[in-house]
Point group: C2
Chain length 348, copies 2
């Protein structure tokens, strides 16, 4: 851990020494990484594989609040959200680039913490940091990560491959990250009202971790491969199950039925939702940031998938003209809606 | 041109319709683009080529000022600065991703203009827009572009390849973009002092265009290839000749001598510099944003390079222990310095 008493201003180093400092631990561990940080561009040799590319932009105040988000976790999460997109193509992430806009509020020790998180994610998922751009900013912290992965052509899973009668499956559980965020926001408000009150986080470790330090679902893909199951369609859950299911339906030109009582929701999610007067089902459908995988498999794979730990079968694919609906235990049909960030734009 | 009287608020569309709208003209024109916008990640097939990846982050208030930067040009420039990095590897750009953080100040018509510029650059340079991330922002406009290019292994030019006695060459001319920026900043201040005074831009088209609508130096690379010349080292000039020459020296473990009277500087650059009391040589050395190419070739290529339009031989590579110096006409040696963005960080 860095010494919190120490504060090295960034202008003491200057741009080039700062970049050297932050990237000195960037190692090229993948065979496909020919040249990493330090030239006009990184060089990659995919050696006959298909490559996938995805990118995410994280803005302070919109995507994260540093009053409660440890900056090391933020670095970790900024990488994970991109790797999750690569895994959602059934590809293996190999390289990332990281661009930062940094305001004067941040010192070298802060950036070291951020990069500790970035490197931790790289190490855990076998990914090389190969480039980026470091810039000053007048408006807090901006993080832009691009991830590159590879796959054999026949391994790739698109959003567009779902077939009528496919089983709809989801990994892990839903809504936990959203409830973690709600808890953090609640305790922040309490603290702002009275700085002597200690935040009440005891017993909520799981939902907090789901928001602050999410993981990508690599092990599930390894299991699917070992079982000889290739999903027909796959997407990662960043905006909420409802949005993602609709993306699959739209791209695959199909409909779906998802059963409410099949939605995997953790006990902590239920408990905090009840305490805060939030519907846990709504958190699961629209909360987002779960970084679970939503995928469809041919119905013939039912028994194999049923036996998989950490995977729930939550519904099935129907014909396009039947629409996309959530089915309640009393057989009511509720139309699924895509959320996106409407709410945020309107709020601004 | 969009109707300036029309203002469509972004929340009227919502995230997904906005993305659909902005990317509806994104066409995959390259064989290597297998899948573009619309899935968790884009899919690329480099078909045996090496790939290069580079990224740049542009922040409103730091990298651009929309009071004088036409937003369409900004879109164009955001792409060009990345393509320039790809060309500096002697590779051919093929795909880009574009991520945006957009504040409520911007309406759909603004984004259409921005994307018109982005698509114009894509069309001119044969590049496909394959993905990105669109987000709300509380702090103006943020643009993050990642460019991907391809090259045969033996074509790639690194910063590290310069050899003692190589000729140092630069394309086009230097300092013009910096002087364009100075002019724009001057006229902005005049206008802020008295909004009735019309900005004085007549006769300065060239330097303004160099700042507001730069081009990447693709034709020079084509000429070099046609002449059978492969640079030993190459870099693009984004931070100024001085910084870039030092990058080549550091990475190649060599020194250099650059001759002041050989620096290519346009007449408009000299003229405005004199008018504003700025040393045009300093603008050329440290101004930056020229997006010219700095490269070294074996001395045997001297006659071939001498005959190339748009290329100046400005010096030569020396042994590492001799340092990196600018030689004045009266044979004084001035040590080259790397600038980076120190100045900006300190100013903030």
């Amino acid at each position: 851990m860095p010494n919190k008493l120490k504060r090295t201003e960034l202008h003491e180093l200057g741009e080039f020494r700062l970049i050297d400092h932050l990237t000195q631990n960037a190692k090229a561990t993948n065979d496909s990484t020919i040249l990493g940080v330090g030239d006009d561009a990184a060089v990659i040799d995919p050696a006959g594989k298909r490559m996938v590319v995805t990118t995410d932009l994280l803005l302070e105040g919109v995507h994260f609040d540093l009053t409660y988000f440890p900056i090391r976790h933020l670095g970790y999460k900024a990488v994970i959200v991109n790797l999750s997109d690569v895994y959602a193509m059934n590809a293996t992430p190999k390289q990332i680039t990281v661009s930062l806009g940094i305001s004067k509020r941040f010192c070298l020790e802060d950036l070291d913490e951020l990069y500790n998180g970035i490197y931790l994610a790289c190490e855990k998922y076998g990914v090389d940091l190969v480039g980026g751009d470091t810039s000053t900013s007048y408006t807090g912290l901006t993080i832009s990560v691009t991830a590159i992965g590879e796959a054999n052509e026949n391994e790739l899973c698109y959003r567009s491959g779902a077939k009528v009668n496919d089983l709809i499956c989801v990994t892990g559980n839903l809504g936990a990250a959203y409830m973690g965020l709600q808890l953090l926001e609640r305790e922040k408000k309490v603290f702002e009202g009275n700085p002597n009150v200690k935040p009440q986080f005891t017993g909520w470790d799981y939902i907090l971790e789901r928001f602050l330090k999410p993981e990508a679902r690599r092990p599930i893909l390894e299991k699917l491969r070992a079982l000889g199951i290739k999903p027909n369609a796959m997407i990662d859950i960043s905006d909420g199950l409802s949005s993602e299911a609709m993306h699959i339906c739209k791209n695959s030109k199909v409909g779906c039925r998802i059963y409410l009582e099949k939605l995997p929701i953790d006990q902590q999610t239920f408990k905090i939702a009840e305490e805060m007067g939030i519907d846990a089902i709504v958190a699961a459908l629209n909360g987002g940031e779960d970084y679970e995988l939503l995928f469809t498999v041919p119905i013939e794979q039912h028994d194999k998938v049923l036996g998989m730990e950490g995977v729930s079968i939550i519904g099935h694919i129907t014909a396009e003209n039947t629409g996309a609906f959530l089915i309640t235990p009393d057989d009511k049909e509720i139309q699924l809606k895509a959320q996106g960030w409407n709410a945020i734009v309107e709020k601004e």
